[in-house]
Symmetry: C2
Subunit: 437 residues, 2 copies
Amino acid sequence: MNTPELIRKKRDGCALERGEIFEFIERYTRGEIPDYQCAAFLMAVFFRGLDGRETADLTEAMLHSGQVLDLSCFPQPKIDKHSTGGVGDKTSLVIAPVAAASGLLVPMISGRGLGHTGGTLDKLESIPGFNTRLTLAEFRRVLGVCGMGLIGQTDELAPADRKLYALRDVTATVESIPLIAASILSKKLAEGIDGLVLDVKTGSGAFLKKFQNARELATCLVEIGTACGIGVQALITDMSEPLGNAVGNALEVVEALETLKGRGPQDLVELCRELTAHMLLLGGLEATLDAARARFDTVLASGQALEKLAQVIGAQGGDARVVEDYSRLPRAQHEDSVVAPEDGFVAGLEAQAVGQASMLLGAGRQRLDSVIDPAVGVIVEKKVGDPVSTGERICTLYANDLGLLRRAREMVRAAIEISPEPVRALPLILARLPEFG
Amino acid sequence: MNTPELIRKKRDGCALERGEIFEFIERYTRGEIPDYQCAAFLMAVFFRGLDGRETADLTEAMLHSGQVLDLSCFPQPKIDKHSTGGVGDKTSLVIAPVAAASGLLVPMISGRGLGHTGGTLDKLESIPGFNTRLTLAEFRRVLGVCGMGLIGQTDELAPADRKLYALRDVTATVESIPLIAASILSKKLAEGIDGLVLDVKTGSGAFLKKFQNARELATCLVEIGTACGIGVQALITDMSEPLGNAVGNALEVVEALETLKGRGPQDLVELCRELTAHMLLLGGLEATLDAARARFDTVLASGQALEKLAQVIGAQGGDARVVEDYSRLPRAQHEDSVVAPEDGFVAGLEAQAVGQASMLLGAGRQRLDSVIDPAVGVIVEKKVGDPVSTGERICTLYANDLGLLRRAREMVRAAIEISPEPVRALPLILARLPEFG
């Protein structure tokens, strides 16, 4: 079938055959199908969708566009976690060490921040010397030594995804559930994992603002991941206020370290516990969710997870002394705060606005090629539901540019809503797919 | 507005502003917007459509992407005709000379055949020496001498259309009413005309098979042409059997010449009369349709139109002796016929299949870069409704390759349907927009 006919077939609402999808992805990856035909195809998919079988075929075609890590020499269950991205989400830095210390192999390949959302790689790179650009051989060595590793996408794994994602970004075809699912899963399946826990975020700070859309994506991810032969558990979690207190790369590393020392903010600890517990279940290390939760608490309390993170930092070329000495992390020159204008209760702390303020300070990227500043960001000292009195500090901003600090402070101020009436704290875990009794 | 945002706006069903449309077309024509973004935009337009105002803006933006012919030095009304393409449609070769001989200026810029449909340029080029690639200066000179001229698209006129059409062709975004309308009208408006008669064909041999779609396009063309300041009359005409008897380039030139000599097939004469009459009305040379029809018959009978065509052939470098000596046209080496297998009436003569058989013989293009054979084609000796007796010839095929002749003959045979019961001839003119009382 020639390419215009294939585009027409999808455009007219017909399902594509597995062979057609594989041929399309192979030829596109090799550069035999030009970007303009792929762009028209992606827009047709945006409007017509892909059914479950087509999405699974697309995922596998993208997966097999490159290498798949063979981790069969490692005895542990291979389990990873993926988040759809949020503000203040440093869970990977806590979860991976706890899971690895518990006996899982965690071959975590992460992304960078874009727009108002942060990325694990950027946070890690605020640690002096930390190298996220390992070769696959180096990555395997780190996995062998530590039971975990944290790197970025490589050219060898799912190259079709990188090419497709770059094209979707500039052709307004990002917001398509089957394309998002195939992108996430092809990358994660390339890690050679047995199971995957997905943190699908919803709310103002998330990519998918509406719960309904988050549920749709979670359902699709579970269906397709299962069809592709791995165990999948999705959690839909709230991202209408930042997760934890810290937003910004080095600030979040400190919060992750504090969490590994048993001093983490309550919401962050809860989310890390739930996600890790599902990883332990998928890996067969625990039989019930309660037992898996208890295991998380035990490993955290034992200090083994903190040791594990220190070990990984060292193995990936970073300065492991940061674990005990935060002054080795970059620190911003200026700070300023936003205080409560009146007595009351925090009713809203718009995650997207806080994320954008942090990006403006330099913690995130406005464009793919923006350079980020690891030191800057925002500490959210109060959460939704907390009581505040007039003049009490709600947020602290850390900056290296006074002009940006002034503008970011206004954004944060506008993101805060105070109510005279008591407000309930926001529920964090909104749904689990598959459901748990 | 950046390009992904503009694509997203259309994708999400919002109307684009005039300035946005102009900027998009200007930047795309200059190569500042890449094909992949334009392809995604075109697919979004395919699904979301364009309203009348957007389509008029797009048409004008495409028109002003290049030069517009300034024909104001010519005193005659400037009127052209455009057909959406069919099988055996040689009307331009009859209409333009009659209209020019009647006192209109006919600056006709035509296309080439593609797929099963023929193109005026290919027919003209079967005349030895005929040059359809005049510069605009040469074209103006021919118009001045003859009152008409017949050339192909040039680089100067509506370059955005050429670039967009080539992209639509390979991205399955051709079949969009507003994009078709903007493409047709931008090219025709670039001719500097006052009025345009449109022959929108429907039926198996037409681009738009369904009457409803043809009506939609005709309505759009009339609306947009009027909004752009020219007079427009659309006729929706039948293309379920070939028009006239001849299909194939030199064969059609002979039939056009025969028609100009008063010996044309009834359906071809009728369609030429109706289209020309509407041109005369738009140009203000006649006040009623009946008077305009009578003028067509008078000019045809006078021999002035035949003289006019001979004059144009000479002015454009062709051998005008073909007008009297058909042996100067290319002639095929082989012929074969399809005869009636039984007594009865012709009930169907699938135009698309006859067009495809003719293309297979070499008269048309399977791809844009196919080389065509001017001599080959099919003569349809019977029309729908005609009685036939067993063994009577229905079609004759002319070929230069015996293998192709055999395959084409099978296609033509399968295209013929014979009924034992009498069958009505097909109505030719199905609708007029605007309607005529």
